[in-house]
């Protein structure tokens, strides 16, 4: 967290994640290259590099885009989300190898600068079908580059989470850009429908998963309660499991009410790191622990334990018999509130 980036150095799980990722990359590239070279020995080495890396980057991009909604739909996928940054940076590097080799192969050693050549060779910008598809690849690669260099938490804090999140939403623009890059490029040359069909399947999968995850969020928010500056009844004390939370949406804000050590505390549901859903987290060692990357907050004041500095809003909560009542007026981030005691 903010005061100590070292706290999340390469641990055992990260090492396993990276090892699996490296094996996956090596396996994909070797199989693509071997299959092509065996079936068609006339291929050139440059084409092998360009195509093995491009198709792998495309595959990784789909995996990256599916992990988010999958983890929203089922927490079992959270281990894939935790180190998604590594997947993103790897995808960028592989895409960059493809882009660099394409620029060297198709645009270098000419009469103008290779990067300018990318934009000025095929100038059919007026036509959709003849459009210079390379430009879409270049544009997407720039976005992946910006995302890769700002992927570390250092940048998240320096750019502010809002700017950072906005920048990282550009991945969807990059994704559409890549689809155009492929559809207006090599698809017009190839005769086999395999790449188009796979691209369509990938697109449908990404879309459906996002819609499903979005719909789940909507259902969760359905119990929206409109209230004034007063306590409202939220649920029964038995509706909340020990060391877990119930999330309620009041006046458009999501609030998590945690039950722990015979106490109840309410804090904002939105993690200061990347807006993770704190209410889906647990109390671990007395701290509310975010399910996404494990940032921790003390339940009674919404502050991360020292030396960390994250703070979220807190709320008043009380028990009336077995009923849990909540006041939806937020206290400033990190304000200490007396927990309600369960007798």
């Amino acid at each position: 967290m903010s005061a100590s980036y070292q706290s999340i150095l390469w641990n055992r799980q990260k090492k396993i994640y990276d090892l699996v990722l490296v094996c996956f990359v090596v396996a994909y590239i070797s199989i693509f290259i071997t299959t092509t070279a065996v079936l068609d020995p006339d291929v050139t080495q440059e084409t092998l590099i360009i195509r093995s890396t491009s198709t792998l980057a495309l595959l990784l991009l789909h995996v990256i885009l599916c992990i988010g909604p999958l983890a929203r739909l089922n927490p079992v996928f959270l281990p894939l989300l935790y180190n998604r940054r590594h997947l993103g940076v790897t995808m960028f590097f592989i895409g960059a190898i493809h882009g660099t080799f394409s620029i060297i192969q198709f645009h270098s050693l000419g009469n103008i600068n290779p990067i300018l050549s990318l934009f000025l060779s095929n100038t059919h910008y007026e036509s959709f079908i003849k459009f210079p598809f390379e430009v879409f690849g270049f544009f997407a690669l720039i976005i992946f580059f910006l995302m890769a260099i700002t992927s570390h938490d250092f940048w998240l804090h320096n750019l502010s989470p809002r700017v950072w999140k906005t920048l990282h939403m550009f991945v969807y623009i990059a994704y559409l850009s890549i689809i155009l890059h492929v559809m207006l490029g090599v698809i017009q040359y190839e005769t086999s429908p395999v790449l188009v069909v796979l691209l369509a399947v990938g697109f449908v999968a990404v879309t459906i998963l996002h819609l499903a995850a979005g719909r789940r969020e909507q259902l969760n928010d359905r119990e929206q309660i409109e209230v004034k500056n007063d306590f409202v009844k939220v649920c029964n004390i038995d509706d909340i499991a020990d060391n877990r939370a119930k999330v309620v949406a009041l006046n458009g804000e999501r609030i998590a009410i945690f039950k722990y050590s015979n106490k109840l505390s309410a804090i904002s549901n939105v993690c200061k790191h990347q807006n993770g859903p704190l209410g889906e987290g647990r109390i671990v060692d007395g701290c509310i622990t975010c399910p996404w990357h494990g940032y921790q907050y003390l339940p009674h004041n919404g502050s991360s334990p020292p030396p960390f500095k994250e703070k979220v809003a807190t709320y008043d909560v009380k028990l009336v018999g077995k009923e849990v009542w909540l006041n939806p007026v937020a206290y400033p981030d990190g304000t200490e509130r007396e927990p309600a005691t369960i007798n």
Binding site: F24, H107, K130, V284
Partner: protein
């Protein structure tokens, strides 16, 4: 199904050394499945690529060839092959191209000026490019050409058809006949344009009807005029001529202009390039 959704009470924390058992079990399966799918995809995508041409570029290998060099209509060297039944001398034409995406006009012009003009015999040292019965040689620098004793006269092309039409696409012969695979089509369009803009003479690929060099009404080679229609399927009409082991198509240069408003485009290209050269 139950095995896929472990106990919801398990809670994953990424920075701890171990993940809970149930989650670990599921994630292992997910990764295994993903691995298998990816391997299948790699093989499937590799298998379904369009066949590559068997053309060849002897990259890094230098070969000496001897023949008679000409700069018109495009730089080439004629290598004597022997005589046909009528006693006529036969030649293999080897087109001359420069390093990277550049033509060899300047080098050949310089050499011919220093010798006895067109048809001078020379020894050339360069990398061969060949495919589908056509050959080219990449000459990196003027010093790779040495003039030697001997000269022949220019052999004029012989007209075989007054009006001839053919459908196909314009390619840059350097990439098409071996340097790149694929060296044609949309994915290669930008590269072909760059090669042609750099002085590599365009070739018309008529598919089963063979390859054509393009010249205008006054036998001048057609070059950057076609840049905007490279890689498009087009139909060209003109006079067909037989010339050594090549066919030449003499077209009305207006055809090209009409085909794609190429003239305007070409002017833009040249303007851009002049601007760029100045910037550099």
């Amino acid at each position: 199904m139950k095995k896929w959704f472990p106990d919801r009470n398990e809670f994953y924390i990424g920075y701890l050394p171990n993940a809970p058992d149930g989650i670990t079990r599921v994630i292992r399966k997910v990764i295994l499945l993903l691995g298998i799918i990816s391997i299948c995809l790699a093989a499937l995508l590799a298998w379904h690529q369009k066949k590559f041409s068997p053309a060849n570029f002897e990259y890094g290998v230098n070969t000496d060839i001897e023949g008679f060099i000409f700069e018109d209509p495009i730089p080439h060297v004629l290598i004597p092959l022997g005589r046909d039944q009528l006693g006529q001398q036969l030649y293999q034409t080897v087109l001359l191209v420069g390093f990277g995406k550049s033509g060899s006009q300047n080098a050949i012009h310089q050499i011919l000026k220093s010798g006895h003009g067109p048809g001078s015999k020379a020894r050339l040292n360069g990398s061969l490019i060949y495919g589908d019965g056509k050959a080219l040689i990449q000459i990196d620098k003027v010093s790779d050409i040495t003039l030697i004793e001997g000269q022949i006269d220019h052999v004029a092309a012989v007209q075989t058809d007054e009006s001839f039409s053919i459908t196909g696409e314009i390619v840059d012969p350097k990439c098409y006949f071996g340097v790149m695979k694929p060296g044609e089509g949309k994915a290669h369009r930008a590269c072909a344009i760059r090669c042609i803009a750099g002085g590599i003479p365009p070739v018309f690929n008529g598919g089963p009807d063979g390859y054509y060099l393009l010249v205008d009404e006054s036998d001048k080679p057609i070059s950057t005029e076609v840049a905007s229609i490279v890689g498009d399927v087009i139909t060209l009409s003109g006079k067909r001529m037989h010339w050594h082991d090549w066919t030449i198509l003499q077209i009305d240069s207006r055809t090209i202009d009409e085909l794609s408003a190429a003239k305007r485009w070409r002017e833009n290209l040249l303007a851009f390039e002049q601007g760029m050269t100045q910037c550099n």
